[in-house]
Amino acid sequence: MAYQKPVQLYGRTTADGLANIEGGNALAHLLGYNGSTWDRWRNNTQGTLLASAERTAAVQSANVTNYNANAAILFLDVTAASGTGGLSIYFDAKDSVTGKYFRLNAAPSAIIATGSFAFMLAPGVSGKGADVSQITGGVISPVWRVRVNVGDASAYTYSIGYALIV
């Protein structure tokens, strides 16, 4: 009879980047393999990319890690607008090899007034909602950010939130 290595059960704390282990994991959560370690499987997630503040120059947000979402929505809330120049919002996908970023949406119409504006990037989208300024067919990348380009150095006060949709 062949020797069989005993299977060991591990009680583990839920976390991202769990190392591969031999045996059974006593962990009632879905995990996704990222090529070297295991990450927690995400539901829809949301957060803040840029907090509300007056800005006069182009801005790039910090990177956002996307674990398993396909689609993303950006929520731009402009509370003060100079009315000139305008804000152009882009989804930027990061190339992990070079660190360069690639714009995933076409140049949108510049926002020059106060209000709430959404930008959507999702597979197979068509027909935008009333408050959606731009829809783009595509998928969101594992590491991405928002880029805000400006038409001039005038002041706009705004915030940008996001939702990642599985």
């Binding site: 840029l50 907090a51 503040a53 182009a58 801005v59 790039q60 910090a62 990177n63 360069k100 970023y101």
Partner: protein, 87 residues
């Protein structure tokens, strides 16, 4: 009086990395920052068009401060006068 502290700031191959203690009065028993009050940020290394690296790094710090202040606001709740009253 609380303040925010940069725990780590590193230039990496493709990004600038920061770890921020968003309220330095929040510590765990061994005196290290409470992980619930620590945030990490990774930023692309190339500044937006027309900005120098120094201007970009200053802008990053400003944005992180704004984000951390926003986070603290979200973590704070204030009871309304209604609390405990019959509805």
């Amino acid at each position: 009086m609380m303040s925010m502290k940069i725990l780590a700031a590193e230039e990496r191959a493709t990004e600038f990395f920061y770890r921020i203690h968003i309220d330095d009065t929040k510590l765990i028993q061994d005196g290290t920052p409470d992980p619930r009050y620590v945030r990490e940020f990774n930023w692309g290394k190339e500044p937006p068009e027309g900005q120098s690296v120094d201007q970009y790094l200053a802008a990053i710090k400003r944005e992180m401060k704004l984000l951390c202040e926003d986070e603290l606001r979200r973590m704070t709740t204030t009871p309304l006068a209604d609390q405990g009253e019959a509805l």
